[in-house]
């Protein structure tokens, strides 16, 4: 009973904090709070070498049956990728296929925790303890069926699972010790909910867990024992359409991959100076993709035939260049390793 109560409390507090984050009721305590004015950020084109001092390309072995690869996760010694919607593929650092996992069900999402645990989400409903409101006196009742859309482990004992039921969003947590799901409803209903809940995603960045809300750019930075928010107030010209598609927090910078009026940009925001730089393409006319950043390297996965968008041959050493040629011929996927210029 006490365990239930405690799990309830913990769920409630964390859920409240996240949901308040969504609805903008708490104040962020980061420098990013000062705001990012997209009308004022530096927009000049710069050479790729000003950001990255070394670029490598790792061609990957073809996936079984030529399945498309997506959702890259980088661990200390492996690249993990979703193969179609039923496989998780594990590649070695040299791009050779090491292992594959077929759980036998369609995979909705997967998440890696501390390089040692892989959690795989399936399409199913969770029978949750429902926290009927955000007041502390609200009694929890069993039997709210919630469909989770994402999962990530907050700690060894707690899994976070955003989900929905009908048009209502829920933030759910699973407690390994009590083996129970708890759900806390958000404040949003209808179409707006669908956009926010289904668009929000967990990302890993320098081995930290981030939860990104694409509409607001809010990033929930979740550590093992700590959590906080980066909530930059994006200012833009009236009528400009903005969608944050990916984010990373590394060193002193926050990196946002964003769509501004439908066009891809990379926004580099320096938290210490409060200055941002909005980059559409480099001086060479190359796009700047953002993948998982780990140990000062930005890892990005794409089909080899898309490489000309991101690279020119002269940026590669001869070994990488010939490997790229072979990958293009084989219709393979590649991982681009962008090494940041040391700050």
């Amino acid at each position: 009973m006490m365990k239930d109560f405690c799990a309830f409390l913990l769920t409630l507090t964390s859920s409240v904090s996240i949901l308040f984050g969504v609805t903008g009721c708490i104040s962020a305590t980061t420098d990013a709070e000062a705001g990012i004015d997209l009308r004022k950020v530096s927009k000049g084109r710069i050479p790729l070498r000003d950001i990255y001092d070394k670029i490598e390309v790792v061609p990957l072995d073809n996936a079984p049956d030529g399945l498309p690869l997506s959702e890259l996760s980088v661990t200390a010694d492996r690249f993990l990728l979703k193969g179609g919607d039923r496989l998780i593929l594990s590649y070695r650092q040299d791009g050779s296929l090491a292992d594959s996992l077929n759980p036998g069900k369609a995979i909705v999402d997967y998440s890696v925790y501390q390089d040692k645990t892989l959690d795989v989400l399936f399409f199913a409903e969770m029978r949750t303890y429902h926290l009927p409101d955000l007041s502390l006196s609200g009694r929890n009742a069993l039997d709210t069926l919630v469909t989770p859309t994402r999962l990530a482990r907050r700690s060894e004992k707690v899994m976070v699972l955003p989900g929905y039921k009908g048009d209502k969003d829920y933030l759910c947590e699973y407690y390994f010790d009590t083996k129970k799901y708890y759900a806390s409803p958000g404040k949003l209903d209808g179409e707006k909910t669908k956009q926010i809940v289904k668009g929000m995603r967990f990302l890993r960045s320098e081995n930290r867990l981030l939860l990104l809300y694409p509409n607001s750019g809010l990033i929930w930075v979740c550590g093992e024992f700590t959590y906080g928010f980066l909530r930059p107030d994006f200012k833009r010209r009236e009528g400009d359409m903005l969608e944050i598609t990916y984010a990373q927090v590394a060193d002193r910078n926050v990196y946002y991959s964003l769509l501004l009026n439908g066009e891809e940009h990379l926004l580099v925001y320096d938290q210490t100076t409060g200055k941002g730089r909005l980059l559409k393409t480099t001086r060479e006319g190359l796009s700047l993709p953002l993948g998982e950043i780990r140990d000062g390297i930005n890892y990005f996965c794409c089909p080899a035939d898309e490489l000309p968008r991101y690279l020119t041959r002269d940026l590669l050493d001869s070994e990488s260049a010939s490997a790229v040629d072979a990958a293009v011929r084989n219709g393979a996927y590649v991982i681009i390793k962008y090494h940041f210029v040391p700050s």
């Binding site: 405690c6 390089d115 955000l134």
Partner: protein, 183 residues
Amino acid sequence: MSTKTALIFFPLVVAMLALVLISRHSVNRLEEALLRDAEKERVFESYTLSSFNASALQDKVLVSELCQSYLNDSSLVAYLPSGLCRACFSSLVFSLHDHEFPEDRITIISEQEDFEVKKECFSRGIHYMVEKLPVGSIPDIMVFRLYRGFLPIAIEYNLNREPLLPLFLSDDERLLRILTHAD
């Protein structure tokens, strides 16, 4: 009430109580059954990454690590509502003591003066304050705030004995308002 009336109503009251008990029992059993179903319907599976084998998860006790790593620059504020399970409070104090959390960095706030709590606090060097909270803001749970510099931390502890208590920092404005008294 006459004896005759009592004789009529007494069996009725007993029968109603029995019904209530039975229905409560049924609800509990239903809940247990639903939980069993929930286990069967588990929506995710966990694997050991190195081998892709399904993994059993360790139930790790975190408090000792936390108390060690957060010992030097942390302070704890706890709001103790009237009538809260005394065992919860004792468990907290003993746990923090066992892990050498500096007791002079703990502040307990109580709505009404509680002699037993006060005595225990004073004997351990824990700060004790009585604070009248705004009407409507009184929580029915124990509220904790643990600081390490400016970093909020959420921890739970389990010394392998009941009760298990979570310590947490809340971003709930209402709780923060309450705890502002201790800032």
